[in-house]
Symmetry: C2
Subunit: 327 residues, 2 copies
């Protein structure tokens, strides 16, 4: 019997707060330019107070992926922790109205819903300051055995490893997935994140992950090599499916027996945030709906092209139609 | 004992005659824009008479490849037919002074040395008109058993199939190469050429060729597919080494057990003529001098980048040094 969910995503539930700032603002209030910086609550509040008017967009890497997956018509669910506060309500509203089953009860301690202040400088660079907030409350208690058993694929963010309780939740869910015949997918999330957890991620990729998502920076960081091709030689044969994204160079899909090289879909780039997340939406949709690996890579590329053509990491066009037209 | 030649190239010995023309000139005197058009002697003479001042460059696909191969320090030889006339002397001078053993005696009938009138329009497009001239005299008699036995790799142009005698010479040389422990390399030359001889080329690739060179247009034409990835799936496992070039997307090296994806070397593009020829120079140099497949692809890319940064398809910089610096 088919499982209830094709994909269940697990990640940090975050609301993005995006504003354009000048370089002086960034120098005064910001952290390492272009990076995803983890900040504490007081630092986050300080930046927000000083920040010009902003837009709020529901975000979170796996949240973006699941919203895109549902928009394509996939049956998806999401596990991630918000607080029962205004941002938490926004997050829950957005992911549910996208058609995703949001399975996690909100926390009710003091810690507010996570937010990511994104400061966009005139050069188009985005500098992120993530306050993980209520995400620290995600724990093994949020992993219900039945939910995981209900999923064909359980998809995890590497970012979860930044918190000890979330990492335990990750490992619990991974174990249930494998014992119930589900597959485990992982995105490496960010090259800095790979740097923080390289040896653990290498072990995951080698022994536990069925479907790996990584961009060029992440996969070269994982294997500490200079070129994409060297990383390709390392990953080939070590994971059932690796979906490696290369920005405007498209993507490469690697299995022990096949390699597919798929060109990117041309588009006008406005904001690259969410490109990897939406690629994963499309690729996961493809492989759970009987598409070939090459077609799944193409679907991923179409979704990524949509998301980078506007601000924010949730689809604004009918990506289901774009995929039907584009394949 | 090591063979005398690392690579012996067999091809059409042609002198390129390059001139800038306006669109009106092309409309009045030219053939299908952007294509390599075969023309007869009277047509060739007519175009040349009307043509503005031009530059002459020794050319011919395999000739370019061997000149580049020797410039890198490789031990190479060349078989191709010129007449003992002025253009023939230019061709012989240029390839010999590049350090290549030019093995073929010139013909002495009426038919002049082959030339290719290249009309460059203001849009940068190049329209070629090739008069094969003395190339039609290349025959089995020009294939000395000892020369072929002396080569580790015998490298052929697909263009040779445009003439029946040259095709017989090709087949004779291929047979000697294989019985004497040499390898056979083929470049598909041009997507129109592939269109003319598809079924024969398919048979060659499947049964006789050890090292295949093709660009994206040629390999998709060979298998009559839409995308590079589809062609990749067709060629994988069907030839010992396929070196597939993709212009600014770099190259892909395919063996039954490995696939390497090598990025292009950035350069200012002036004239793409000879890019494939010089890629082959570098790749052949790499694989005959103990480089890894990935390194050989990189060497090919460095040589291709040099050749497209100026007019003409013979190197103008010290590509040996460029390779030493670039690897």
């Amino acid at each position: 019997m088919a499982k209830k969910y094709q994909v269940l995503g697990v990640g940090n539930a975050i609301v993005d707060v995006i504003a354009a700032v000048n370089n002086e603002f960034l120098a005064e209030h910001g952290d390492a330019k272009g990076a995803m910086n983890l900040v504490d609550q007081s630092r986050s509040a300080k930046i927000y107070t000083a920040m010009p008017p902003a837009q709020e967009h529901s975000g979170g890497s796996a949240g973006n992926t699941m919203a895109g997956f549902a928009a394509l018509g996939g049956k998806g669910a999401y596990i991630g922790k918000v607080k029962d506060d205004q941002l938490g309500n926004i997050f829950a509203h957005d992911i549910r109205s996208a058609g995703v089953d949001f399975l996690t009860a909100p926390s009710n301690d003091e810690t507010p819903t996570a937010s990511c202040m994104i400061l966009v400088t005139p050069d188009g660079e985005r500098t992120m300051h993530t306050y993980l907030g209520a995400c620290v409350n995600l724990s093994e208690d949020d992993i219900a055995e039945r939910d995981i058993e209900n999923a064909e694929i359980v998809y995890f963010e590497g970012y979860l490893w930044d918190m000890d309780a979330a990492k335990k939740a990750f490992l619990k869910a991974m174990k249930i997935a494998h014992t119930s015949g589900g597959k485990v997918a992982l995105t490496l999330s960010d090259s800095f994140c790979v740097g923080r957890f390289r040896s653990e991620f290498l072990d995951l990729v080698e022994h536990h992950v069925d479907i790996l998502f990584a961009n060029e920076d992440e996969i070269t960081s994982l294997y500490q090599v200079e070129t994409f091709d060297e990383a390709l030689q390392h990953v080939a044969g070590h994971v059932s499916i690796a979906a490696l994204t290369r920005g405007e160079k498209g993507c490469v899909i690697v299995t022990p027996g096949e390699i597919h090289i798929i060109d990117a879909v041309e588009t006008q780039v406005v904001d690259t945030t969410g490109a990897g997340d939406l690629f994963a939406s499309g690729f996961l949709y493809g492989i759970t709906n009987g598409y070939s690996l090459a077609e799944a890579g193409k679907v991923g590329g179409i979704c990524a092209a949509e998301i980078i053509s506007h601000i924010g990491a949730r689809p604004e066009s009918d990506i289901k139609m774009l995929v039907e037209k584009g394949l």
